[in-house]
């Protein structure tokens, strides 16, 4: 991994279009600003990972959709056909 030292208000470029700026540093917390093209999403990694996991779970859905409960058919209230 490339490691660079930066001070407040200094920026790192990734390629021609992505900028990461150190906005603020307080104790062990650093605030970063991102400029990136619209097609490059920027996420906190733990949030990205939770979405990736949930997407993979959803893509593995198995079963008969006609057997799934619909809205308002809550626990125990569902009519069986």
């Amino acid at each position: 991994m490339l490691v660079l030292s930066r001070q407040r208000d200094q920026t790192v470029m990734i390629g021609d279009e992505i900028e990461i700026t150190v906005v603020d540093i307080r104790g062990d917390r650093v605030r970063l600003g991102f400029k990136a093209p619209a097609q490059v999403p920027v996420h906190r990694k733990e949030v990205y990972e939770s979405i990736r996991r949930e997407n993979q779970r959803a893509a593995g859905f198995r079963g008969d959709v006609s057997q799934l409960p619909g809205p308002g058919e809550s626990d125990g209230e569902r009519e069986t056909a």
Partner: protein, 148 residues
């Protein structure tokens, strides 16, 4: 056009049912185009079948059917990514998953698309009150019995 699906085999899809996700969905970098297919007669669920990977198919639903007060705060940059001109063109669905005997929907990162241009984005909402595993309903054992 004809697409290949592991779940459905060869399927004929009208171009009006195709949604493009230029930024892809996290975990699926190879899939850019998806076809929206009806999944059930009640019009509650759809399948979102990848046109680039035959094995990738999401079950999705309209969150508003389940959670009447569900709302999303669309940021200007997301509206730009969608090339959205009118909010009337905005369509919102959430992926559905099963965790044990619970049916859940990812309301934290809904799939939104511009119905006019059929360009889509998976949002990440700043509002932490919505979960990636929002509980929808229990899946009863008779339903599970039919699951391969």
């Amino acid at each position: 056009m004809r697409i290949q699906s592991v779940r459905f085999g060869a399927v004929d899809v009208d171009a009006s049912r195709v949604v493009e996700f230029p930024a892809r969905l996290p975990g699926f970098p190879q899939s850019r185009r998806y076809a929206l297919l009806w999944a059930d007669a009640r019009e509650v669920f759809w399948w979102l079948q990848s046109m680039d990977e035959a094995g990738v198919c999401f079950l999705v639903t309209d969150p508003a059917l389940w959670v009447p007060d569900y709302s999303i705060d669309l940021r200007p940059e997301d509206a730009r990514r969608l090339e959205l001109r009118s909010m009337e063109d905005l369509a919102v669905v959430a992926t559905v998953a099963r965790h044990g005997d619970r049916l859940t929907a990812n309301l934290r990162s809904p799939l939104v698309f511009n119905a006019a241009t059929r360009r889509g984005v998976q949002l990440v909402l700043g509002d932490e009150s919505w979960s990636v595993r929002h509980d929808l309903a229990s899946v009863e054992m008779p339903a599970l019995a039919g699951i391969a």
